[in-house]
Amino acid sequence: MVKIEFLGPINRENIEVKADNLNDVKIILNQDSELKEWLNDCAVAVNDEIVNNLNITLKSGDRISLLPPVCGG
C-alpha cells in the first residue's frame, strides 16, 4: 500500500491505495470525478521529491503528494 496526500486547497483526507507505480496511481485518481479536476494542475512528489514523469516504481509505504498551484508571499 502507498499513501496519497492532497496538499493545500484540495482539502481531502489522505488515502491508502495499492499501486506498483505512478501509472497505477494515475488510473485510480482519475476514477474520482472531483479529484480529476485537480490532476491537470497538480505537481506530484514521491517521498517529498517532485517527479516529472510516471516511470517511477513504488514500494509499500511510499508517500505520494499532490501539489496544486502555489502562490507564496
Binding site: P9, V51, L54, S65
Partner: protein, 145 residues
Amino acid sequence: MLELYRGALNVEEIINKWYQLNNKENYGGIINFIGVVRDENSITGLSFDIYEPILIKWFENWQIKANKLNAKVFMAHSIGDVSLHQSSYIATVASPKRRIALNLIDEFVEDFKANAPIWKYDLIDKKRVYAKDRSHKIKGSGILS
C-alpha cells in the same frame, strides 16, 4: 536560514537580526525583499498553507546555489492568517558583491513565487478562498491527468 511563523511577521525584529548576522560576516551588499498584504479585492487579509518538507528542500537547494557565489539566502514566511498591511514574506540575500546580490534577490523571489509549496487564500467574510487565479502550477504539473 528559513523561519516559519504563525501569523504576521515581525519585520523589524527579523530584518535587524539578519542584518546583525550579515554585516559582521563581511558581506558588502545585503538586500531585503519584504512582502506586505495589500488592501485590495475586498479582502480582510490573506492566509497561507505550507508544506514544510518540500519547502525545506527547495530552500536548501537555494542555499547551496548561493554559497557557490559566496552568498547567503534567508527567508521568513507566515503560516495561517495575516491582516492587511502586515508582512507575510521576507527574503534576504547577502553577498560580498553588489551585482551578485541584485541578481540573486531577483532569481530567488521569482523562483519562490513559481515553485515554493505554499498556498494562498483570500480572507473574505471570515472565509478562506483559494487564490487560484494568482497561483502558479509547479514545474512538472499535470503528469497524473
